[in-house]
């Protein structure tokens, strides 16, 4: 066997190793979900057929799947990036809400405030960058607390969620609320046309934000594996002690990792506002920040994996409507399947035991304990 061939087969075996457990986890979850559907009196084949048809069976369906996957990709990348830096960002929900709120404000209030009509080339980037900046800040605070005081980021990102959601609740009910007397809902006015991300095609809701999400996935990959900063993030994530002795400024990198993670989560909220809803409304996020953790885990914290996992979750969420329309099987079954996927990915020993797969030598350390 020549050397190049062995290298190639090594790559293939590495790839199958990486993909094997998530794929088997998904399939096992789908089969188990099917058994549950059958158990409650439905036809699992009709259900999954409806799901597929809804998610990919028409142009509209594909478009909606892309729409759903956009916030999942951003938020999934956010969690994955933090994991790579050895940090667990549970604060996606708060970062996302604040990013959405502030970019909505830039979108509707800034032109009036300045008394000028802003051209789209200035207004839209400004709205997006504001959301990213606020998300960055909201991630960097627990990052800095971890780096400089040792306060655990899991606790602090959760705390920051509460602070963010209450700030947003206050703003939505008070200063940022749509002043139209007919409006009783806690939401902002519509953002200006110049702050809206345009759709990709006429008549479909899929927008340039989806392309931005894919580009951002490439960007995160490039950052992590092609730049010095990415190398430093990964080194700190793998072993902060070693990173310190290698001359890396661990504290700075930790702050930056969670900051960048928060920035991506903020972007998830920003894009929902500027490309889809054109306003921010209280309670618009049905837990993207938390679903993102499942997506990052399923995607093995690799940007490509995150994109695939996000599309899978989006297809299930989107296709569920069609499934219910055709078969009257409750949409909640999708949450059950998603939870099973997460269970099998997180506790991969179950999958390895079921399919008799040997444990690979490499052990993934997601986060370290209190001492880390």
């Amino acid at each position: 066997m020549s050397q190049s061939q062995s290298k190639k087969s090594e790559l293939v075996s590495k790839l199958t190793d990486t993909l094997l457990v998530p794929t088997l986890a998904i399939v096992t979850a789908i089969v188990l979900g099917g058994i549950i559907i059958a158990f409650v009196g439905g036809n699992p084949f009709a259900a999954y057929a409806g799901l597929l048809e809804g998610a990919f069976g028409s142009l509209k369906g594909i478009s909606e799947t892309a729409v759903w996957s956009t916030p999942y990709i951003f938020a999934g990348l956010a969690v994955a990036l933090a994991f790579k830096g050895g940090l667990f960002n549970i604060g996606g929900e708060g970062q996302l809400a604040l990013g959405a709120t502030t970019s909505a404000w830039v979108g509707y209030a800034l032109p009036d405030l300045l008394g000028v009509e802003l051209p789209m080339v200035i207004h839209l980037p400004l709205a997006i960058l504001t959301g990213m900046a606020v998300g960055f800040l909201w991630g960097a605070i627990p990052g800095a607390l971890k780096a400089y005081t040792g306060a655990h980021e899991v606790i602090n990102t959760i705390m920051m969620n509460y602070i963010a959601l209450n700030i947003v609740s206050y703003l939505m009910n008070g200063p940022f609320k749509d002043k139209n007397p007919l409006n009783v809902i806690a939401r902002t006015p519509l953002i200006a046309e110049s702050a809206r991300i345009p759709p990709l095609f006429d008549g479909l809701r899929v927008h340039w934000g989806f392309i931005l999400a894919l580009a951002m996935a490439y960007g995160v990959w490039w950052l992590l594996w092609k730049t010095n900063l990415g190398f430093e993030i990964r080194t700190v994530g793998a072993n902060p002690e070693a990173a310190k002795y290698a001359g890396i400024n661990v504290k700075k990198i930790m702050t930056l990792s969670l900051g960048l993670s928060g920035m991506l989560a903020g972007l998830a909220g920003t894009v929902e506002v500027t490309a889809l809803n054109y306003r921010h409304e209280l309670g618009f996020s049905q837990g993207y920040g938390f679903d993102a953790i499942a997506i990052a885990l399923l995607g093995k914290n690799h940007p490509l994996g995150v994109v695939l996992a996000a599309i899978l979750f989006a297809a299930m969420r989107n296709g569920a409507t069609r499934m219910q329309f055709l078969t009257q099987i409750p949409v909640d079954i999708i949450s059950v399947v998603q939870a099973l996927i997460l269970l099998f990915v997180a506790a991969d020993a179950i999958v390895r035991y079921l399919y008799r797969i040997k444990q690979s030598d490499e052990k993934v350390v997601l986060t370290r304990g209190w001492g880390g």
Partner: protein
């Protein structure tokens, strides 16, 4: 190792093939003969024992009595409103019922996009009139008036109360003012305590049962012996606390005897919006090609007395029947404006 992969691959392919064949043949709503009614819920379940369920019962009645083909979709995320409505419209459904205030905008948008489909929006007060769209609203003031009139007759202390969510939502305020008017109609000297949960935001005011319970407890301690609780979980908290304190509770929207079992022992009645009837009537009108465009007012009534039936004297019943008739023929007016002035 290899063998297991093969078995696995076969299973996978087999399941895919089976999936492909399993697609059911959809009955055709596009044809003229078949009358189809679809319903889109607000974020929530079809069997929520509240708005969604009441509306669905109206749709089911259309299935039984008008021979309609009916179907529903449960919304899981607000961004799916448009998509869920379009799912029915694209399949050629004749009537689409959307439930709840929050779907109002999406419904109006869809009514413009699909002029051949009739839209019925439950609890949606319309600003614009489209020939194929009706907003089904309810006279909360009348429901509240009946509750207040009953409360004023049932109290022994001459002191009644209402624990309500925010008065910034017009229907809640109209329940409260109707309650006040009804009580004063029966007894001009009665003492009325109406408390709104205005001190918190919109996201909290309907989902704060603890506040509802503590407010009810302090009212009961001050001698209030009938309490009207309205406003989602906040109102439910008030009902449960009232029952625990041993004072009468009055529910709202639907017969809460079914939704708040903890309060059954002291639940006097509920100020109901007759959603099921309203939805069915509008579907029927649509089938006859006579959908009333714009805002349509349904009816309101009180729920049965259930467990406390024996407490309500024949005299009170007669008086209530008289008031109900008076409200219906217009000889009694609640004098509650549509929105808080």
């Amino acid at each position: 190792m290899k063998k297991q992969y093969t078995v696995f691959a076969i299973l996978l392919i087999a399941s895919m093939l089976l999936t492909a064949c399993g697609a059911p043949a959809a009955a055709d709503c596009k044809s003229e003969e078949l009358f189809c009614v679809g319903m889109v819920t607000d974020v929530g379940k079809i069997d929520d024992k509240s708005f969604n369920q009441s509306a669905w019962e109206g749709v089911k009645k259309a299935e039984a009595e008008l021979g309609a083909k009916v179907q529903y979709i449960e919304t899981t995320d607000a961004k799916d409103y448009d998509k869920n409505i379009a799912t029915f419209a694209d399949e050629g459904y004749d009537v689409i019922v959307t439930v709840g205030f929050a779907l109002g905008e999406a419904t109006t948008k869809a009514a413009g996009l699909y002029p051949d489909v009739d839209f019925i929006g439950v609890d949606q007060f319309l600003q614009t009139t489209l020939v194929n769209q009706t907003g089904l609203n309810f006279p909360e003031d009348i429901a509240g008036f009946l509750a207040g009139a009953l409360a004023a007759q049932m109290t022994k202390t001459g002191n009644i109360g209402a624990v309500l969510a925010t008065d910034a939502v017009p229907p809640v305020w109209r329940f409260g003012e109707g309650y006040r008017a009804g009580a004063l109609y029966v007894n001009p000297d009665i003492e009325i305590n109406i408390v709104y949960h205005n001190d918190v935001g919109f996201d909290k005011t309907f989902v704060d049962p603890e506040w509802g319970a503590t407010t009810t407890n302090s009212m009961a301690d001050k001698g209030v012996d009938v309490i009207f609780g309205a406003g989602g979980k906040t109102g439910n908290g008030a009902l449960i606390a009232a029952a625990q304190k041993g004072v009468y509770a009055i529910g709202v929207d639907t017969d809460q005897y079914n939704t708040v079992p903890e309060a059954q022992s002291k639940l006097l009645t509920s100020a109901m919006k007759n959603i099921t009837v309203g939805v069915f009537d509008l579907i029927k009108l649509s089938k006859e090609g006579k959908l009333p465009a714009g805002n349509f007012f349904g009816t309101a009534s009180l729920a049965p007395y259930h467990d406390v039936d024996a407490d309500v004297s024949a005299e009170v019943r007669a008086k209530m029947a008289e008031i109900e008739a008076g409200l219906l023929d217009g000889s009694i007016k609640t004098n509650v404006p549509p929105v808080k002035p």
